[in-house]
């Protein structure tokens, strides 16, 4: 679970992290203010199956494609990327095209994120 960008709104990231933990998953929380480089490096070292990116600063079109590209550069494109935050509807198809697996907008129940991960990452269930 990663917080990229400079905003400090970590309520959503923490709620999702707790929900995934309660669903039996092991969650590595990166803390605030991470660059895409730092997130990808942590993903590789921790051998994570998926990266959940929480972003509310409006910089999602800059930062998310960057994470996907860095995963490719590191031969780690098998890692699933999903995100949540204030993301305008019309950006969602663009993000999915860029390689983001799923986009959760504010108010999505946490169980949807849990169900999604269980479906998309076999080892998560």
């Amino acid at each position: 679970m990663a917080k990229v960008g400079l905003d400090g709104h970590d309520r959503g990231a923490k709620i999702i992290a707790r929900a995934l933990r309660d669903a039996g998953m092991e969650v590595i929380y990166t803390g605030l203010h991470q660059t895409p480089e730092q997130v990808v490096e942590a993903t590789i070292q921790e051998d994570a199956d998926a990266i959940g990116v929480s972003i509310l600063s409006g910089a999602h079109m800059t930062l998310l494609p960057r994470i996907v590209d860095l995963l490719k550069e590191n031969d780690a494109e098998d890692v699933l990327v999903f995100c949540g935050g204030t993301i305008p509807k019309e950006d969602i198809p663009k993000l999915k095209e860029a390689g983001v697996g799923e986009v959760f907008t504010p108010g999505t129940p946490t169980k949807k994120a849990v169900e999604y991960l269980r479906r998309a990452v076999p080892s998560a269930s």
């Binding site: 092991e26 969650v27 929380y29 942590a42 590789i44 070292q45 494109e77």
Partner: protein, 325 residues
């Protein structure tokens, strides 16, 4: 999905190919090898037979101490010093407090974030679920895998000062116990039996008004131990500040001095032998436990039923599943 297929393919990759990757210093290989340890993968024995001969050269340090003392900040600064000496640093960050059956949130990387982009620093978090032979054994294997991948310094970091933490930290050549001023940490640590295993004491938050008082308190506790065993060296006490890095260079020196003393006196050899012996026992115990569980679930399923019905006593039952009767 193509990417999923790729991932599954990786799960099946041969132990020797993975070992080759680890030894070549490939980070993804290293990360995947540690995942195999966490899962108790069937390829683990084959993998380790190749990696083990390449271990034993690294400086290994265990860090323990209650949560909130600023261990990670000190470790972050210590990593900086080792990096200045051009040493590659591996960190195994262990949280034994996470419940065994449920999921876990591991957040201790955060304080090491300054090193996230250094290609010669590798940080791995470990929770406590599903480890054959216990978390201490698994974290030890993770550290050894880092050694095989060419890391010169391995830091075992734990959260808290319980028995689990002590076991993790004491696998290292040097054990550092971090305490903070006031808060009665020293007394707690004494109760938990950590004082005995610590080789270097670090009182963090040196700017705190009670820092010197706490150092004196620790010293007096240590000196009592010293009277009982006059030959043992009195562990040094270093005052540090995790926020500014003050005192961390002294801490590094104290760790180095402890190593030097161990090597000189032959203590290092004794210590490593004892620790490897413990490791073999705990691994074997873990395997045995797993086997017994499997028997109770499978071929010996009726044994427990007979115990529940008071037809077979528990001691006789244990003999049965051990195939002794």
């Amino acid at each position: 999905m193509a990417s999923k297929g790729k991932r599954e393919g990786r799960e099946k990759e041969s132990a020797s190919a993975l070992a080759e990757g680890v030894v070549a210093g490939d980070k993804r290989s290293l990360a995947r090898a540690i995942s195999k340890i966490e899962r108790g993968d069937e390829n683990l024995p084959a993998l380790f037979s190749e990696l083990y001969p390449r271990t034993g050269e690294a400086i290994t340090i265990g860090f323990t101490g209650p949560p909130g003392v600023g261990k990670s900040s000190i470790i972050a600064k210590l990593i900086r010093l080792y990096r200045d000496e051009d040493k590659k640093v591996g960190v195994v960050s262990v949280d034994p407090s996470s419940p065994f059956t449920k999921g876990a949130i591991l957040g201790d990387r955060i304080r090491l974030a300054d090193h996230f982009l250094d290609k010669d620093v590798f940080i791995r978090s470990m929770g406590s679920r599903g480890h054959l032979g216990g978390l201490a054994a698994a974290s030890r294997l993770a550290g050894m895998t880092m050694e095989a991948a060419g890391f010169d310094v391995i830091l075992y970091e734990t959260v808290g000062v319980g028995q689990g933490e002590v076991e993790v930290a004491s696998a290292a050549d040097t054990v550092v116990l971090c305490l903070q001023p006031g808060a009665g940490d020293a007394v707690q640590a004494l109760k938990a039996g950590v004082m005995e295993v610590a080789d270097v004491f670090c009182i963090n938050k040196a700017d705190h008004p009670q820092a010197r008082g706490t150092a004196a308190e620790v010293r007096s506790i240590l000196e009592i131990g010293h009277e009982l065993d006059p030959d043992a060296p009195v562990p040094p006490i270093v005052l540090t500040r995790g926020d500014t890095g003050e005192g961390v260079a002294e801490l590094e020196k104290a760790i180095e001095a402890h190593r030097g003393h161990l090597i000189e006196t032959g203590g290092m050899e004794r210590r490593r032998r004892a620790s490897l012996r413990d490791f073999v026992i705990s691994w074997a115990t873990g395997r045995l436990e797993k086997e017994m569980e499997e028997r109770l679930r499978g071929e010996d399923a009726d044994v427990m039923e007979r115990v529940y019905e008071r037809r077979l006593d528990p001691i006789a039952a244990s003999g049965k599943i051990l195939r002794q009767a």
